[in-house]
């Protein structure tokens, strides 16, 4: 009960924050112009639609509730034998509820996409009493969009369920890494001195540890799981953006327009927020999206190595990990790998295209008027 309560509250809180910041931004002239610019860009709009679809699925998969267990014989709600309390199941997300028809379509084992028969043949005794190799028909013929896996689970359903994992890894890791990078990069670059030295040494130490080893060590200490993985990847990956931002801030600090603002008596925090950070925005945006993409891909690699999310979390990485053995079979079982890749590219490509459009729209110099 508590688990779902917490998760639902976090999801709703995040959605509210997102809506509030979108509303705030929509009141600003620069962002309103940018939005108008993006509306004229068809590719960006299409990308946004796909991203919104992914986001919607991830949100649906993040809210859930527990349902009372139904006694299959009587059809009544099951109750505790002593206390009489209603017994609840493990709970399922809204997406699970929506996908119930697909989720319930279980087969015995592998079947190819849109096939009406099982992929592997079994030995059967024919009507003439002789043993023969047959491919038995499926329970749900021609209903599996991307086939089924070894235990007969629908692969398309797995791909859909992995969206949430991918989005959380991409977003949470980025949200952890970017504020750190901006804070350290801008402060180190602008103020210099001991602050710069401290940040530089911290960064040098962190980046001298191999990322995979660092994440593996982190996961061994704190256990496998989605939050741990995000934290480990966030810590391991802020240094690249930090370096970029520090260098750019160093350049901007000596730019004439910053000097002019200083000479005008504009306070330091205002110089940072109005003159420096907006001029770093294009770097932050590009790096954020590239990071989002590479984070999604890195999860696949880490799960493949066995140090990603645990086995109980569905992810594209674990799908690819499963495909490792499937690819060695003859004839090859290609649909699980293909599905995982298609879902990943479907997220990463529109994200890159959309970020590119946003960056162009935010840069007054590139605006088409």
């Amino acid at each position: 009960m508590h688990y779902w309560l917490l998760q639902n509250s976090i999801t709703i809180a995040l959605l509210l924050v997102l809506a509030a910041s979108a509303w705030q931004l929509s009141r600003r002239e620069t962002w309103r112009i940018a939005a108008r610019e993006i509306r004229h860009n068809r590719l960006a709009l299409a990308s946004f639609a796909i991203l919104a679809l992914y986001g919607g699925i991830a949100v649906l998969d993040s809210v859930g509730w527990r349902r009372p267990v139904i006694n299959p014989e009587t059809g009544d709600v099951a109750r505790h034998t002593q206390t009489g309390a209603v017994v609840y199941d493990q709970g399922a997300s809204a997406l699970d509820a929506l996908l119930k028809p697909i989720r319930g379509m279980r087969e015995k084992t592998y079947s190819a996409p849109f096939s009406d028969r099982q992929f592997s043949a079994v030995t059967d005794i024919g009507p003439d009493g002789r043993a023969q190799r047959v491919r038995p028909p499926l329970n749900h013929p021609r209903r599996h969009l991307m086939g089924t896996d070894r235990v007969g689970m629908d692969v398309f359903y797995q791909g859909l369920k992995s969206i949430r994992t991918g989005m959380i890894i991409g977003l949470l890791t980025t949200l952890l890494a970017v504020p750190f990078a901006i804070l350290f990069g801008v402060c180190a670059g602008y103020f210099g001195g001991w602050l710069d030295d401290a940040a530089q040494y911290l960064c040098a130490v962190l980046s001298s540890i191999p990322t995979v080893l660092f994440i593996a060590a982190f996961m061994i200490i704190f256990g496998q799981g989605l939050p741990q993985l995000c934290l480990a990847m966030g810590i391991a990956s802020w240094t690249g953006l930090y370096r970029l931002l520090r260098g750019e801030t160093l350049r901007l600090r000596d730019a004439d327009f910053v000097q002019a603002a200083t000479a005008t008596g504009v306070p330091v925090w205002r110089i940072l927020s109005r003159h420096i950070v907006p001029n770093l925005l294009h770097i932050v945006l590009i790096t954020t999206v590239l990071r989002f993409s590479s984070e999604v891909l890195a999860e696949a690699a880490l799960t493949y190595l066995g140090i990603g999310v645990g086995a109980d979390t569905m992810s594209w990485g674990s799908m690819i990990n499963d495909a490792r053995t499937e690819l060695t079979r003859d004839p090859v079982i290609w649909w699980k790998l293909t599905t995982a890749f298609a879902f990943m590219i479907g997220l990463v490509l529109p994200a890159n295209i959309f970020a590119d459009a946003v960056r162009d729209a935010l840069d007054p110099r590139l605006r088409t008027q």
Binding site: A263, T264, R274
Partner: protein, 365 residues
């Protein structure tokens, strides 16, 4: 309508006022050179090395010299953009060097700067209105007007279209951008503006327009300009007094006519002879050999002696003291030795005073 923006000047102050608007004394701005793992200071770049000068209200001082001589650093040090190592900068009777940032912010209103490059001096992500009224808003000087009104008044003041306030810098031409830069400097109703080569990045025709604007604004608001330039013909147009800088030192300072028509220092003579003049250009040019020494390792004695065509043994060992003839001051051993002859020389030739010296290296052009 625009008059509301600017406070009226109480009275016209003459350049020979006892308390000048700006008085710099023995100012040094050194940049440390750090080396090695421990970042130890291995030496200093002496960008400004013992500069003294004074400026009256409403006066324009032209600061000339070749690239790297410390002109810009001097201007920036006055605005507090560079940390002065020693010396004093007194502005309107208050010592700026070592002043706390909080107090300095109030004085910053009164000293502003116009930058050389109209492309890098305006934040590309801010509209014209935000750019020119930013300081106003922070010093609480909007006085009941909206930012739009204040911006439109300033735009009009510098000869830009009032409707341009919502445009971004890249939508303006170079000259217009420089006008924006001037509007930003003017917004805080300053007494003193450092103009760091404000026209050298512009076309010649646009240069004239911007110079005229600066002249008009000076007359209207009693502004003092420290006009940094390497273009002597522009300096002649705008400045009443000229200071010549070489390797962090002011080597000659005086009225515009004195410096440009009767220079005393060999370096100033060479500088002025290098200005191309149209028509009957058959005069002798003094061509300096070699380059300006590094300010990180300045030569002993007079900083100009390695290139000076008239260098004497004393120049290699002793920095010449400042000698003044009227309000014309110069730092050169030749002048200290030949004060009387120097005083008589006003022939306007690039070859300077008729003191007895080693022959100048000359070239017929």
């Amino acid at each position: 309508m625009t008059g509301r923006l600017f406070r009226q000047s109480p009275l016209h102050l003459m350049p020979t006022m006892p308390e000048p608007l700006l008085a710099i004394k023995d100012l040094r701005v050194w940049f440390p050179i750090r080396k090695g793992v421990l970042n130890r200071v291995a030496g200093h770049v002496r960008a400004v090395d013992g500069v003294s000068l004074a400026m009256a209200k409403g006066e324009t001082l032209g600061l000339v010299g070749e690239s790297g001589c410390g002109k810009t650093t001097l201007g920036r040090a006055i605005l507090g953009l560079e940390h002065a190592r020693s010396g004093s900068i007194r502005f309107a009777g208050q010592e700026l060097n070592g002043m706390a940032e909080k107090e300095h912010r109030l004085l910053r209103r009164r000293c502003q700067m116009i930058f050389q490059d109209p492309y890098s001096s305006l934040n590309p992500r801010m509209t014209a209105m935000d750019l020119i009224t930013e300081g106003l808003a922070y010093h609480g000087l909007l006085a009941g007007r909206s930012r739009e009104e204040a911006a439109a008044e300033l735009m009009h003041e510098v000869g830009l279209d009032r409707d341009g306030i919502f445009r971004y810098p890249h939508e303006f031409s170079g000259g217009q951008r420089q006008r924006l830069s001037i509007a930003r400097a003017l917004s805080l109703q300053p007494d003193f503006i450092v103009c760091d080569e404000p026209v050298s990045a512009l076309d010649v025709s646009v240069q004239a327009q911007v110079i005229n604007l600066l002249l008009d604004l000076r007359a209207k608001h009693q502004l003092s300009y420290l006009f940094i330039s390497h273009d002597l013909s522009v300096v002649r147009l705008i400045a009443q007094r000229v200071a010549v800088m070489y390797l962090g030192h002011i080597i000659e300072c005086g009225s515009c006519a004195d410096i440009l028509d009767a220079p005393l220092h060999p370096y100033t003579q060479a500088l002025i002879s290098a200005v191309p003049t149209p028509g009957k250009d058959r005069r002798q040019r003094t061509v300096l050999t070699g380059e300006m020494p590094s300010p990180a390792a300045p030569p002993p004695g007079c900083p100009f002696h390695p290139r000076c065509p008239q260098a004497m043994p004393i120049c290699r060992t002793t920095m010449p003291a400042e000698s003044s003839i009227g309000d014309h001051s110069v730092r050169c051993h030749l002048i200290t030795d030949n004060k009387n002859t120097a005083n008589t020389s006003t022939d306007g030739k690039a070859n300077g005073p008729g003191y007895d010296a080693t022959p100048v290296q000359q070239e017929k052009t």
